[in-house]
Symmetry: C2
Subunit: 938 residues, 2 copies
């Protein structure tokens, strides 16, 4: 009987849209069978066979134990159903044959309990049958509304609100049943041209070497074979290879077809129309999702793509392997596929950057003992007395106590850093170019080269609602023929709110950053007051580290808050389409998160130690807080610590807490509701149907948070790389974990996303490009102003008496006459041995006519610093543009293949058309709907 | 009979390629007539009528006077031909009906004379008949080789070389005759959607106001109507509106079709194959060109596009009108059309720039009397004694003598200039954006939106020759299956030559610029020696002006030399395709011309006056030449003069001499050869056939020199606009003339170019973009370093005692103790009254410990200058990027129209296919070649 069903379903692929509402059995029409008998289909494999993989494991060891707990609704549904034992556990309808491609859920209220029920949508063959599965699962008869438990429940409650939802649902589902659609791909095979002999040998060698790095996914198709493909259209189906009708569309495509139908079907009233998004938003349905392919482990685990992905991708044990991008795309769709491809390219590109970064760091380590400035600082013979670091409580200190910091600074502040900044600027450009080429290659492999904006984006439900409201308001006066749309004026309040809120939140970020500065100052003073020598000796390190940790925690908390505020603001603006919504949201989130992440870092890099004033005339904020100074060897060291802690902390906490911990917690909470022991849980799990298992999983919320995280990381890696050459290494280590973590999340923790087709990574590419442009100027400033690179250079080539760095430390320190301290700021108790103390600045000595004014050296060095910025920025920009120009955006072989494929497609077209026409001529029959639409889908 | 010919020709449009070689009369085949009878053509206007415009004026007053002068070959041809009087003078064959679309010429040697002969190629209807017109013009029989005067001539001479050429010609022409092709457009009409009422009213108003500015070309089609179009293909001809078969392709398209055939036809021997380009290069043919539409004036002037272009475009009297871009494109093709469209947009955009520039200049004029620094300079009470400007012969001078220069400087060096620089940077971005949009719009109107790189570029003849040589050399060893191509190694000698020659030529440019500097120094010294007071008073002005003029002349001469050297170098490199040749040539020419034009200007802007040294320690070059100083008020004035003279001089001389004078001269020379009086000439002119008239015109050498000229001008306008706000005005005035000048040249002076189809202006856009990027940084430096803007600002806000500019001049002048002059450099005779003289620099006074060293002010001001550069560059770049991002590249209405047009096209397709199929079904006939190729040409 089931076999019979399938046969009929498979044959009725020309069914008009009217017959889609009826159950599949009745959709055989005589008019269509003649179509079957023309030459087109005759050439295909005529005998239809059910796919072996789908019939397997249907009779797996199924645990039929029943329970009667009302608070676990899915269970309840089974309890009342005797035929349960024979139900398949894969993503099928109760007939075990027709796939469930998409699930809609809604809640119904019963006295003292909540019942959940699933409505499943299936497609079969080419078009889509809609099946509303009822609680009496064994009955496969058409809708039996009387027996619907929902109806019974609402009858008892007489709840108007629930009633309304139910009516909406019913009409919407009726509409769904009246719908059908057509789309997708065709296959034919040709050989990819081989390269020349040597190239081919090298290619083979590389292939052999990297073979263990490739994931083992499926029977390996020879790499040189690629299918010809063409957007599917019903009118052109004679062109396609329809031999395996059941697998012609993969599960991802089927889901997105169903989703497309769902989006088009509307629950309509005059002036009022709701699509699936609005129905979901209004709670008419609680969720809507497609199904995973199958289970990953356990007894019911038949071989499926999900399991393959789990084994070859979403596992830490395969961290060294390439990602199976093709399979990811096949399972999750192009958008997710492109994200992981991008993440892969980024991670791959981080490897050379990390290696060079480590070499630069090691160079710093190796040369730390040859570094004359730090030797001079550490030399106690110099016996330099420094001015106190805070008022009254701090005392004079000897420069040699800063020896450790000075030596550590050298690790990050040496000439190799300049080279590394330039290297990383070019690296960023190379990364972009590499990605563009990879994207082009994927576009080719995934047959997206001709994919344009074919489908017009549907308006968002909220937008249509607002338009409807506006229309009603305007109905009195305005002309009818003008199309109503939301103008800037309509959105003005929302825009104003956005601007105000964004400014306020940025202000909050600044205030918090400033608060951390105050914390640092006051803690430092407090620790200076402390009498424990251990505390005093570690003052600097303690303050730096705690401040950095506070910063990180604040950043992480604000990040979450800002994300929700950005979403709320975007909702206020009522964007027209989903795309517009996404872009506006990304834009806002990016600005907020970026400011949030980089405010403390920018402060450390460019402002710390510059707004200090000078001894005797310090700068005070908030009453009596004296602004903090840097350690002798520049602020670079502190910047470095901050970056290190931010990167590590953010990644560790966000990865572990937000990406692993919280989803686990949520899942746990969902499960806890069912009040089962873990053993019972496990038992139950085996009995759950696919869509019930997936319902427990977290909803898919889009790929953008993942991108955002990576973009902020990219910012850390490129923007301040001059101060922290190990950043690429940290990023690399994080990303290796991140890929598998995200993979696990997608495969295990989340419901399957609706596959969406995109050609590129969109706005993210522009953000990356913008960041790498900003990175050039930021790095120029870090090298010129934060590091001591320029002063050292100037000293060596102009001021040094012997052309070496000897005397550099003395040169950078100005003199201060301790008698010039303001009242109350001199160290207490006073040290009467000290007449003159030193401080780091270029100022005239006390014995000059213009004492304590900025000296000529200051201006000369400032001029050189600025000149360095100009030269660095323009040289690097020029080099970047040159690299950009040098590397073609489309790989040569791909552009050649695309051209060739077009010709082959034409050939295939002509052959098929010719064969078809010959057939027509033979039997004198001409199909009126043959090849007219050819240009449309091109 | 002629009517008969035409009819048959018109019907035989399905002729296979074999029948193209025979004269048109024989091309009627029965198999094709059945094709005519199917529904496709039936719907079209069946009755074929000769076009009225083409039969007119055939019997104009033709002067049949004969002459017997052998040195005037065209004349001779007529002299022997009695039927001359009845020949039409338009671009027709001797039957007066079939158009000549393309002309090939070659020379033949006769004893003591050179004979020229024309071979004409014609196409008619859809395909192309080749017609070799013989010297006995009255005979319209097929090839009569025996009577060919060439054969006769060569028989007499027995010249092997000429013989070889003749054989090549014959075979080539035979090949031509065996060829046919199919391409082009179709029309249908739809309405462009109207905007809302208000917008429409404004549009109409603007249209009314600007109406006199629009050229009157042809019967005005309603603007809202646009033809649907599609690349023509023979298989799809049923879709096209073929009602007027003779005008289906315009003359431009017909010529390019013929040219395409010419390029594909080859004269072949084993290992040796020559296309038309090689045949032209080898002198087998002397020239190849399509024909102009007709005469512009005189008795034979029937209404034609060329005449219309002359009247409404190529005339100074219509300088205020828009250009008839559509007609230009129709007549000359897309490439020329885009050039003039671009030139038009550029000129249009120059109007606001010129207005703002003039306002900035006027602001300078208005504020010159309020300018405190120049007042101080002019005030004799200050009585400042300046150090001498040259060694020994020059004396001390009073600062007030520089009053005039100082006041003049203010015109170009005032705060408004900074604003103008920013304005022009944004202007450049706006210009680019505007052009991108205009280009998109033209692409839409000209149906290029779907035009890709459909035709593969043919390899250049030289390249194939070199490949053939290489193949022969490799034949012994290498594997056969590898495709031979020129590698980098093959081209290495050429590349080396290029690098060496380019460096050498850039070096030459520098040497010449340096020579002019030396000239300036020595002339200045010489004039100082002169005893005439008149000479001495005008020294500066004289020297500046003469030097600038010399520079201009050198630039113009070198420009011509460099152009030919660049061409020679590119030929050496043997580029593969014409496109590659063009790009390489443009790249080289651009670098050379750019360096040539801007070396003196860059020297003046950034180096002059900076490499002077200081009194007592001047910098000397080439022995005893002391480097020149600037006048007191900065070098900006001199830069300004140089720019002014360069722009004016270059444009005047190049326009007048090269674009008008030399072509006229060449034409005159060609005519002088014929040794006729001007009256005889005129008489003769009336009797010349179209292709003979066109042969007298200059050959078309491509549009690139025109672009190059404009790009250099664009460089002048944007790069140094900070120093010369009148540059846009000058450019505007020049371009208004330039447009008409170029137009005249194209319409009157040159042979008609082969129409080439391009989508954009290609490499020129990148050059423009590059220039406008460089302009930002150059302007930043000009403002920061060349002008006194930053010192004035610094003085006012830090050094000035009262916050005003009073005392600024004194502040900028350093002191020099005259006793510190080096021996022999002090003024002679010495002035014993002067103990201390002043010079313009920031140095310590003689009484300082570090006398004559750079002062703190110098460094401070330098730092501010550099900071200004950084801020200016980044702010302007940010603003530019923002503007770029703000303006969408494709105008909204255009993208909407493109979408709509695609839908309409589909509609048309379906309708036509349906109608066609219905017809098939009615008469039971199915064309095997119907709609199979639909996707190919898309």
């Amino acid at each position: 009987m089931e076999q019979q069903d399938e046969q009929v379903g498979g044959l009725s692929h020309h069914g008009s849209s009217q017959d889609l509402g009826s159950p599949p059995i009745s959709s055989f029409e005589p008019g269509e069978s003649s179509q079957q008998e023309d030459g087109t289909v005759m050439r295909r494999s005529e005998s239809y066979l059910p796919v072996p993989g789908e019939d397997k494991n249907l009779d797996g060891d199924f645990n039929g134990k029943t329970r009667n707990d009302e608070s676990m609704p899915m269970k309840t549904l089974y309890a009342s159903d005797g035929s349960l034992l024979h139900l398949p556990l894969g993503p099928y309808f109760s007939d075990g044959q027709r796939r469930v491609d998409y699930v809609l859920t809604y809640g119904i209220q019963k006295p003292s309990a909540i019942r959940r029920q699933s409505s499943k949508l299936s497609d079969n063959g080419y078009f889509h049958r809609l099946w509303r599965s009822l609680s009496s699962r064994s009955s496969r008869a058409p809708l039996q509304l009387k027996e619907d438990p929902e109806v019974a429940a609402t009858e008892q409650q007489a709840n108007y609100h629930e009633d309304d939802k139910r009516f909406k649902r019913e009409e919407f589902e009726q509409n769904l049943q009246e719908m059908g659609l057509e789309l997708e791909k065709d296959e034919g095979v040709y050989e990819v041209k081989q390269g020349s002999n040597l190239v081919e040998k090298i290619r083979l060698f590389i292939h052999k070497v990297t073979d263990p790095l490739h994931p083992k996914v499926g029977p390996k198709r020879p790499e040189d074979v690629k299918s010809l493909s063409l957007p599917f259209s019903k009118e052109k189906q004679h062109l396609f290879d329809l031999s395996d009708r059941d697998k012609f569309f993969d599960s991802k495509t089927r889901s997105s077809i169903v989703y497309e139908v769902l989006k088009r079907i509307r629950w309509t009233r005059p002036n009022y129309s709701l699509g699936i998004t609005s129905l979901l938003a209004n709670g008419v349905y609680t969720s809507a999702y497609p199904l995973h392919d199958g289970d990953i482990d356990g007894v019911t685990a038949e071989p499926n793509d999900r399991k393959l992905l789990f084994e070859e991708w979403a596992s830490y044990s395969v961290f060294y392997k390439y990602q199976p991008i093709g399979l990811i795309r096949k399972y999750f769709g192009e958008k997710v596929g492109l994200y992981f491809a991008w993440l892969g390219v980024y991670t791959q590109m981080l490897i050379p950057a990390a290696i060079v970064g480590v070499i630069v760091f090691l160079y710093g380590c190796a040369t730390v003992d040859d570094n004359i400035p730090s030797m001079e600082i550490c030399d106690p013979r110099n016996n330099i007395t420094m001015c106190p670091l805070c008022d009254s409580v701090c005392s004079y200190w000897k420069l040699e106590t800063a020896c450790g910091t000075a030596r550590a600074s050298h690790l990050f502040d040496n000439p190799a850093t300049v080279f590394f900044s330039i290297f990383m600027a070019l690296w960023a450009v190379l990364f972009m170019e590499h990605w563009k080429r990879r994207q082009m290659r994927l576009n080719y492999v995934w047959d997206l080269t001709d994919y344009g904006m074919e489908e017009e984006d549907h308006n968002r439900a909220e937008y249509e609602l607002r338009v409807a409201e506006k229309t009603m308001r305007q109905d009195q006066g305005a002309a009818k023929d003008e199309k109503v749309k939301l103008t800037c004026t309509d959105r003005m309040p929302a825009y104003l709110t956005t601007v105000v809120m964004m400014s306020f939140m940025i202000f909050i970020t600044f205030v918090i950053a400033f608060g951390v500065i105050l914390y640092r100052i006051s803690i430092k003073t407090a620790l200076h007051l402390s009498t424990y020598p251990a505390a005093r000796s570690n003052i600097r390190a303690t303050v730096k580290t705690t401040a950095a940790i506070i910063n990180v925690i604040v950043i992480i908390i604000l990040d979450e808050i800002y994300a929700s505020i950005a979403r709320w603001l975007t909702t206020l603006e009522v964007p027209k389409t989903d795309k517009s919504f996404e872009e506006r949201l990304i834009f806002k989130t990016f600005i907020l998160k970026f400011v949030n992440a980089f405010t403390p870092i920018v402060y450390l890099a460019f402002f710390r130690g510059r707004l200090v004033g000078r001894p005797g005339k310090y700068l005070y904020v908030v009453g009596s807080y004296r602004m903090e100074e840097c350690a002798h060897a520049g602020c670079l060291m502190e910047l470095c610590i901050q970056l290190c802690i931010t990167m590590l902390g953010k990644q560790l906490i966000q990865n572990n807490l937000f990406e692993i911990g919280i989803p686990k917690l949520k899942k746990l909470l969902r499960k806890r509701k069912s009040e089962l022991t873990s053993k019972q849980e496990e038992e139950l799990h085996k009995t759950l149907k696919r869509y019930e298992k997936d319902h427990v999983l977290g909803p898919f919320v889009g790929i953008n948070p993942e991108y955002m995280e990576m973009i902020i990381q990219f910012g850390m890696v490129t923007l301040f790389v001059a101060s922290f050459p190990l950043a690429p290494l940290f990023a690399l280590l994080n990303n290796i974990i991140e890929i598998r973590l995200d993979a696990k999340k997608f495969v295990l923790e989340l419901r399957r996303p609706i596959a969406s087709k995109v050609k590129d990574i969109g706005i993210w590419y522009n953000l990356l490009r913008g960041l790498s442009k900003v990175a050039v100027i930021v790095n120029a400033f870090v090298i010129a102003f934060t590091s001591d690179f320029v002063p050292r250079l100037v000293y060596q080539y102009t001021y040094s008496p012997d052309g070496t760095m000897h005397g550099f430390v003395n040169h950078t320190l100005s003199y201060f006459n301790v008698s010039d301290f303001q009242n109350g700021t001199e160290p207490n108790p006073p040290n009467f041995n000290v007449k003159v103390c030193r401080y780091k600045d270029y100022r005239e000595p006390p014995w000059s006519n213009t004492s304590y004014e900025l000296s000529k050296e200051f201006w000369a060095i400032l001029a050189v610093r600025l000149a360095f910025v100009i030269v660095f920025q323009n040289v690097v920009m020029l080099m970047s543009d040159f690299v950009d120009w040098l590397i073609p955006d489309i790989p040569k072989d791909i552009s050649f293949q695309i051209h060739k494929e077009k010709l082959l497609m034409l050939d295939h077209f002509m052959k098929e058309e010719g064969r078809r026409r010959d057939n027509h001529n033979h039997d004198g029959y001409t199909s009126p709907s043959s090849a007219r639409l050819l240009l449309h889908f091109h």
